[in-house]
Symmetry: C2
Subunit: 233 residues, 2 copies
DNA sequence: ACAAGCTAACTGGTATACCAAATACCAGGC
DNA sequence: GCCTGGTATTTGGTATACCAGTTAGCTTGT
């Protein structure tokens, strides 16, 4: 169980490879908005700033490119990829299916330990939400989803979902914390019950519906933002 | 002013980067079986053999690792990832969903040009199949699937499917050419008709069913192989 | 003054050499 | 025979240099 609660960029924790740490660091900066869309990243400059050489930096950047966070133009530099309403649509279309698949598989294959973990994360999420700690609630919700994917027992699905989770976090970051915690918790609880009851069809349906709901609220944000922009222009 | 206005697809493929070429080369070797599962890859040795330095080789290997073709153990070297019945199951579970999604989206968004391309590929596949050129038929079938994904209009879906296609090719390679061309063509034709008729639900259903059929025949191969092995041992 | 062409700086791509860390294997001592 | 320690191997990482496009600025000619 990897609760990605505290991922400190401090060099000296466990010794992951430098490439990995640089990757995480840059990814977080993009997700958090420290590196906004369109920002130009210069290899030598960035390597110097991070205190690493160009090789691990390049390897980290290559991975970020593959995962859609960077756009690398050969000999023209790298820029942080834009993320708009259209990209959000693409993301949710895929997530709706993969989350549905994960939930269905989880209903079939989840171990009791995994079910217990889901229950625990759900309780934490509910608690954080009730206490008004939206940020924590969102993190626990993400962990809950991750646990479902893990419980699916399909490692390929986990591989595919991991970068999508990162993109989703970026989207949530862009759309501030508009994430209505309460209805989410309710949906999560029903989803959990379906998985616990081994009702694969219902679990899949609930998961898909849940993602669709998230999509709608995210797209609502974009259409609102567009309206605001057209005023200012 | 210049907010990422330059989204040019003018990335001429005249000269790919060395990293890209090495990546493709190694991937093909793994798919074709020149580098069998379990084979150990030594960086400097391989770099020397390919006539490149370690940097582009490492970047290519990193990508292969992410896409599941290599397993890199920290400071213990890289080995070609194994691909067994279980992995095939994982792959088909995901593909069933993503191909279904792609077909549904393609039914909604395919342009007439894309429909025409599908039709052409289908005709070629049929022709190759009738002429007994199984290898060509399989290639055209793959192109047909790829065209559906492209017609989905979801670039994220394309990104996700590309590495899965490579894995599928590897699987087909392992299972020789057991791919019964004839029934495949029939299913493809019905799938095409559903897309052409803008029947998204039917297209999705047909695509999923088609993948499920492919899975069954692939898994049949594995269980046969297992039986043979248990004889010998 | 303006446009075309050239040049120089910038930046990514690659090569080479080197060091550090970790592992694996072998030899020697108990 | 087993454990320990050293050494070779291999990867991870860095520094440095050079090459090759790309861009932008300058020069030059009309």
């Amino acid at each position: 169980m990897t609760t990605r609660a505290d991922r400190r960029p401090t060099i000296g924790e466990t010794h992951q490879s430098l490439r990995e740490r640089v990757y995480v660091e840059l990814r977080e900066r993009i997700i958090e908005g420290t590196f906004p869309a369109g920002m130009r990243l210069v290899e030598r400059e960035l390597a110097d700033q991070l205190g690493v050489s160009r090789i691990p930096l390049r390897e980290a950047m290559q991975r970020l490119e593959q995962e859609g966070f960077l756009t690398v133009q050969a000999r023209r530099g790298s820029v942080v990829t834009d993320f708009g309403a259209q990209d959000a649509t693409y993301l949710f279309d895929v997530r709706e299916n993969l989350e549905g698949l994960a939930a269905g598989l989880a209903a079939r294959h989840a171990t009791t330990a995994q079910l217990r973990t889901m229950e625990r994360l759900l309780a934490r999420s509910r608690k954080s939400s009730d206490a008004g700690r939206l940020r924590q609630a969102v993190a626990h919700n993400a962990d809950f989803h991750q646990q479902i994917v893990e419980a699916s027992g399909n490692p390929l699905l986990q591989e595919l979902m991991a970068p999508l989770d990162a993109r989703l976090r970026r989207l949530f970051r862009l759309t501030s914390d508009l994430n209505d915690g309460d209805p989410m918790c309710g949906e999560h609880e029903r989803l959990y019950e379906a998985i616990r009851d081994r009702d694969a069809a219902r679990a899949e349906e609930l998961a898909r519906h849940h993602v669709a709901g998230t999509r709608d609220s995210a797209l609502r944000y974009f259409s609102d933002a567009a309206t605001q922009h057209s005023d200012g222009g």
